[in-house]
């Protein structure tokens, strides 16, 4: 996980390249409140327990999420997904690539 955070910066760069290729991709934590997006993929470096947890929660490619409230002091970000409100820490959310709708 710490590893994931460290790689976040590199990942952002990769994001930029993806956008260059014509897909309006951004990471889940970059969404603005009320914005809706479709999930494209979970970053390949997110594996094992964490990846499975995200999948179990319904964060699978094709799912549509809507950004909700964000907690103060750099706290978690809330999303609505399949009728459920779910909060993730920014570091986790940043590992999910989405395209805005």
């Amino acid at each position: 996980m710490m590893h994931c955070i460290r790689e976040r910066l590199n990942y952002r760069v990769a994001d930029g390249i993806a956008s260059g290729a014509g897909i309006a991709a951004e990471s889940l934590d970059a969404l603005r409140p009320g914005e809706r997006a479709r999930i494209l993929e979970i970053a390949p470096h997110c594996r094992g327990f964490e990846r499975r947890r995200l999948t179990d929660l319904g964060l699978v490619p094709g799912s549509v999420v809507e950004r909700a409230e964000r907690a103060p002091f750099g706290g978690p970000v809330a999303f609505r997904l399949r009728g459920v409100t779910m909060a993730l820490r920014p570091a986790t959310a940043s590992m999910v690539t989405v395209e805005t709708l």
Partner: protein, 649 residues
């Protein structure tokens, strides 16, 4: 619960009731049923509705978590139903999920009931489809159907049943709707010959495929219509108030202060009533009785003045605050406020290496640390859960508030300018509580970098919609699960402690009581910490309950001080005419009081809490650290404080 359910009453003849009880305790039953479901689907409500009061927690071999099990009878057969921990998926990710997956595999229940949330059916279908892939006899209970209707979500139950190929029961378990139907379906299915065989390879299908299927099923069976536009959406407004950037923290502070205020004030009257009955009336009566049947003085002392009095004392001071605090807290839980508190606090707590839900275990710790430790079960990841358990003692429990308030009133108030005494006294108590929060964050930070080094968990938090609380259930869960549990453990510990306290004060070695020798032994350390030997001795012998510390200090002070008041039994601070005079006479200064206030916050947990930590962690090592860490903090803080005080004052 069963009392409200006519179908249960009509069948519960005496013979059946006896068979049910036997089944519950002897483990005999005609059919084993497992109850699974996502968290927050009202699974426990369904369980309570099915079994009523015929339930207890059972130990299943190889499980770390105790599972609630209950029985019900239908059609003359006894069904045992096991409530498995809430889980999102059978692909075991954390402990709770492993429990569920292993139970389904090893205990091989005949029928499995999957409780699904009608308002979020698509997500819930993942688990349904996984269970259906492994088990032949599965029933889907679509719960919260009333809430879904209110939000304009209509579920076509017949079509859902056809699509899934499983029996489906629509339910509104809070209102008891669908319970009888579910019982009947369980009974029918248990007798049926399985029409289809579960795929034998025992492998779970891929989650992404299952979600695709779930999406298709939901499209076919669920219709959304615009909900009747309410003139004012109170849920959304409340949600905003409870979690928005600017209002979240003030609201949290206000709610928490209100709960504590109601608890401390509201407990006074019943506490005094109980005290009047158990201590003032029953105690002298028992004393007379003991003399009447000719018990020797030492036996009546140990039994009546020692064990009985300590037990009665613990009940008087602990029961009323708990019986108020825990229901209030459970009410907030039922309302859906607590996950929002975890959401608000995670930003701060994650910096200390802790989990957002630790805010809740800390808050429960203000009622009772043992309950706070048990509550840490809600934190899924083991590392963060241990952080919460080890730091819980820095949350001032109910047993310590009165000590602080008493000391503050006696010693801080007189230092304030005229008219501001109460304000200063309360300010000092609050300062200690805030110091407690700071210390628990600091301890979490240090633990995360030393003993509990590790990667932060994959945090996720489901925020359920705000719901109208279900009052009956609030009372039931909070009283049974928390109040009685805590009180029972505390009383069990109070008996031996009472005997010990009595012996220390009343048995002499040489010409002096044992307490004198022991307090002399502890007194150099006491002096160093700005306290005295008597206070330290009281903390040692009154380890079962913080509530016993002040009465023990007073008793020992009186016994050893040669004062005109009769000593030798626990001593109520309210009954001393000139408490401050008494303490000053025994050498107390402002330094003693302030140091004691610090030590009151930072000392070892009570024995009830230590035992609970051992039971929850199954580790002597963690129980030791949980005991040593706050004690060492207290030793260091008090010594530093006393040294500085002596230097400057």
């Amino acid at each position: 619960m069963s009392a409200h359910d006519p179908s249960a009453c009509s069948t519960c003849a005496l013979g059946e009731a006896i068979r049910e009880k036997t089944a519950l305790f002897a483990g005999t039953c005609d059919c084993l049923v497992a109850l699974v479901g996502n968290p927050n689907t009202g699974k426990s409500t369904v369980f309570n509705r099915l079994t009523g009061l015929r339930q207890h927690t059972g130990n299943w071999p190889g499980k770390t978590t105790e599972l609630a099990e209950g029985v019900f009878s239908e059609g003359g057969r006894i069904f045992k139903i096991v409530d498995l921990p809430g889980t999102y998926s059978l692909e075991a990710a954390d402990n709770d999920e492993q429990v569920t997956a292993n139970f389904l595999k090893k205990a091989a229940p005949e029928v499995t009931v999957v409780v699904a949330d009608a308002t979020a059916l698509e997500r819930n279908l993942l688990l349904c489809l996984q269970v259906a892939a492994l088990h032949p006899k599965v029933i889907v209970a679509v719960n919260l159907i009333d809430e879904a209707e209110g939000r304009g979500i209509a579920v076509d139950v017949a079509k859902l049943s056809a699509e899934l190929g499983l029996p489906v029961v629509p339910m509104a378990a809070r209102r008891g709707q669908g319970v009888a139907d579910l019982r009947r379906k369980i009974a029918e299915l248990s007798l049926a010959v399985p029409l289809r065989l579960a795929p034998g390879n025992g492998k779970l299908p891929d989650s992404e495929d299952l979600y695709r299927r779930a999406g298709g099923i939901v499209k076919a069976c669920v219709t959304l219509r615009e909900p009747p536009e309410p003139s004012f959406d109170w849920r959304a407004a409340l949600d905003w108030l409870l979690t928005s950037r600017w209002t979240a923290f003030p609201v949290m502070g206000a709610v928490f202060a209100l709960v504590l205020w109601i608890t401390i004030l509201g407990a006074n009257v019943p506490s005094n009533l109980l005290y009047g009955a158990l201590v003032e009336k029953l105690h002298p009566f028992l004393k007379v009785l003991a003399e009447g049947i000719g018990l020797p003085w030492w036996l009546s002392g140990v039994l009546v003045d020692g064990m009985y009095l300590a037990g009665a004392w613990v009940v008087c001071v602990m029961l009323p605050p708990m019986a108020i605090f825990f229901p209030l807290f459970t009410l907030l839980e039922d309302l859906g406020y607590l996950p929002r508190v975890a959401f608000n606090m995670d930003g701060l707590l994650s910096r200390a290496g802790a989990h957002g839900k630790q805010a809740l275990t800390m808050a429960i710790g203000y009622g009772c640390n043992a309950a706070g430790v048990v509550a840490a079960r809600i934190i899924e990841s083991p590392r963060e859960r241990l952080v919460a358990i080890l730091t819980n003692n820095f949350a001032l429990c109910n047993g310590r508030w009165p000590t602080l308030i008493l000391l503050s009133t006696l010693f801080v108030a007189p230092m304030a300018p005229a008219g501001l005494g109460t304000v200063f006294a309360m300010g000092a108590v609050l300062a200690v509580a805030v110091l407690g929060v700071a210390l628990s964050l600091a301890a979490a930070w240090i633990l995360s970098r030393t003993l509990l080094k590790g990667e932060p968990c994959a945090f996720h938090l489901e925020i359920p919609p705000i719901r109208r609380p279900c009052l009956w259930q609030v009372l039931y869960t909070s009283l049974i699960d928390r109040t009685v549990f805590v009180l029972w453990r505390a009383v069990v510990f109070a008996f031996p402690a009472g005997a010990l306290i009595w012996c220390v004060a009343n048995i002499s070695a040489g010409a002096l009581p044992l307490a004198w020798w022991l307090s002399e032994l502890l007194s150099p350390l006491g002096w160093l910490m700005g306290l005295n030997g008597v206070i330290l001795l009281a903390y040692v012998v009154a380890i079962p309950a913080n509530e016993l510390v002040v009465p023990t200090i007073l008793m020992l002070t009186v016994t050893l001080g040669g004062q005109a008041v009769p000593g030798g039994t626990l001593f109520d601070p309210g009954k001393a005419a000139d408490l401050k005079g008494l303490l000053s006479g025994a050498g107390w200064t402002s330094l003693t009081a302030f140091s004691l206030m610090l030590f009151c916050l930072c000392h070892n947990p009570c024995s009830t809490t230590i035992l609970t930590i051992y039971k929850e962690t199954k580790s002597v090592r963690w129980a030791f650290w949980a005991t040593a860490m706050p004690l060492a903090t207290g030793l260091v803080l008090c010594t530093l404080f006393a040294a500085l005080w002596r230097l400057f004052a």
